[in-house]
């Protein structure tokens, strides 16, 4: 794939590339996480419109295959450093809805005690490490995490993400190069969702594919269709295998579309209708649903009932969290340093 050229608007939507590594029950699981991510997103958008959310709401619609497929390829010792559009990964890593909602809304009892919001939290028991707003900063950190594992002879893969914009930060370069020199088990997914805030790829870089950068680091690189969850899964699974064998990091450019504004305040009028149409046809959930229906892995009824359950659960998490007070101001004075 070419990540930086005009779209061929008439191109056919390619079929899902089924992975031999997946059983049907695992397919259903992935699909469920994708649905959950989408419904969570819709719920957050709604909360935001109602003025009941707090802080920026960064939609991940369009990113479900990329986020779920990648995280799903990890093992139960591996760690995730998700970014702002990787809510799918939180679900794969079994984050429960109440905890998540509390964190997003910074309510009393939330993991970060109100000190920070959105998906920035870390939940060590769940092997989820959050991020800071500064793009690129977590790449060296995710590398250092598995440097430690490696020193202790532990087999742990660390996975993190960066955008088509964030890949231009100096810390991207330093982090990937460091990991490559040390042959660290790091998987970096570059989620090329066409825009960095309002900036199209052409503002950000001039290379053909962002995965071409792998050559300059001496690590593995590939650009894939990030709306095909099975392809994402398989690519990442193999990357994790290589990582465990000591073959070093992988740079996987996953191409998809950010289907909404940068955050909900952004009307994304800088995106053309045609472009949105093109990507709408490649909606990762629609594509996978069609595949699962065709292959009779799931029926429409089953999907509906999965979705209904997910929606209900999200609703009750919101009900649980949204009326809780913010943490007491005293929390602001704690933990600048810890013992």
């Amino acid at each position: 794939m070419n990540s930086n050229k005009p779209l061929d608007l008439s191109a056919k939507v390619p079929p899902i590339k089924p992975s031999k590594l997946l059983s049907n029950s695992r397919r259903i699981e992935m699909f469920t996480y994708m649905l959950q991510a989408r419904e969570f997103d819709l719920a957050m958008q709604r909360l935001n419109r109602q003025g009941r959310a707090f802080g920026g709401v960064y939609s991940q619609t369009g990113n479900e295959a990329s986020s779920v497929g990648s995280a799903y390829a990890l093992g139960d010792k591996d760690v995730l450093f998700p970014m702002h559009r990787n809510i799918g990964g939180h679900f794969v890593f079994k984050q429960d809805l109440n905890t998540l909602m509390l964190a997003f809304l910074a309510r009393e009892g939330s993991l970060m005690r109100g000190t920070d919001g959105t998906g920035h939290y870390a939940d060590v028991k769940k092997r989820i490490y959050g991020n800071v707003s500064h793009l690129g900063a977590m790449i060296p950190v995710a590398a250092g995490f598995v440097l430690a594992s490696k020193m202790r002879g532990e087999s742990v893969v660390s996975m993190t993400y960066i955008g088509d914009g964030g890949a231009q930060t100096g810390e991207f370069h330093e982090g990937v190069n460091f990991a490559s020199v040390q042959k660290l088990p790091l998987i970096l997914i570059i989620e090329n969702n066409q825009y960095a805030y309002s900036s199209p790829n052409s503002v950000e870089f001039a290379c053909v594919k962002l995965s071409d950068r792998a050559l300059g680091y001496g690590c593995f690189g590939v650009t894939i269709d990030g709306t095909d969850v099975e392809l994402v899964y398989e690519t990442c699974f193999k990357a994790a295998e290589r990582a465990r064998k000591g073959e070093g990091p992988s740079l996987i450019e996953s191409i998809t579309m950010r289907m909404r504004g940068h955050a909900e305040h952004d009307d994304f009028s800088y995106v053309s209708r045609e472009e949105l149409e093109y990507w709408k046809k490649r909606d990762p959930i629609d594509r996978y649903q069609k595949y699962l229906l065709t292959k009779k892995v799931l029926s429409l009824d089953e999907i509906t009932s999965i979705r209904t359950k997910l929606i209900d659960d999200i609703r009750s998490a919101i009900d649980y969290a949204v009326d809780l007070p913010f943490p007491s101001g005293e929390e602001g004075f704690k933990n600048v340093f810890i013992d």
């Binding site: 910074a106 109100g114 000190t115 920035h120 690129g136 231009q168 950000e204 602001g332 004075f333």
Partner: protein, 324 residues
Amino acid sequence: MAQLTYLEAIADALRTEMHKDERVFLLGEDISTYGGAFKLTKNFHEEFGRSRVLDCPISESAIVGAAIGAALNGMRPVAEMQFMDFVTCGFNQIVNVAATTAYRWGIGVPMVVRGPSGGGVGANPFHSRNSEAWFAHASGVKVVCPAFPADAKGLMTASIRDNNPVVFYEHKGLYRKIKEEVPEGEYIIPLGKARIVREGIHATIVSYGSAVHFALSAADELLKEGVSIEVIDIRTLVPFDQETVLASARKTSRVLIAHEASLTAGFGGEIAARIAEHAFEHLDAPIMRVAAYDSPTPFAPTLEKAVLPNSTKVMEATRKLLLY
């Protein structure tokens, strides 16, 4: 004169200077089509073309570095940090390249790094920082922190015309909060001149940026009780208008310093030290400071309110100062 918000006043300064001087151009992330995260440069690209309103990759070091290079080659670039917090990613360029060039090469680096700073708007620890003291300690960059629309315009004009690098802190909480008369056309306020925003006799509050407004409302409240507070907005940290501050300290003999940045090693310490050295004999009370607690700026409104200074905290401290 038009009534402009702080944000409009800054945009007005940029627009006026860009019309007047073709060496002036803007660079930053999402500043052209999108008009910037706060829409400060909305439609600028239509007026000046995209090459003078240059959308850049997410590369703060490249943005600042390119601005320096362009400044060395006859231009007067104004680089936007989408949030001033991200200046930490272009920090090396500012403190090591921009700040040392005049000293070493005798060549000016006429450039401005500007962007929204500050908290109190429910952003998060990474979209709220007040980091002006870092640059005040960098020896070689000027540091500007306006509190009012007209000042913001006048100081931005002066910053663009200055032959030295300027870091220009806009307070995002002020962007749309206040409107005032702002002179049309070219309007310049020299860097390094504090402003006595309100004259008073019983005590002085020295501040800048958002804290000037806390000081003013504290002064308003206290006036009702017959207490007259002098409020000084230093406006620029570097150069620092020591004389105006000292004169006021000598006059009122009681000084409170207020800023939104965290306390320790904030610029308030510098101001206090200058007063403690040069106006020592005139003081009738300890120099007090109100500033943010030494923590990151938290996200939840309850915590943010607890941690950041505000009018009430400034007023309470002023009362304490008066009672001493």
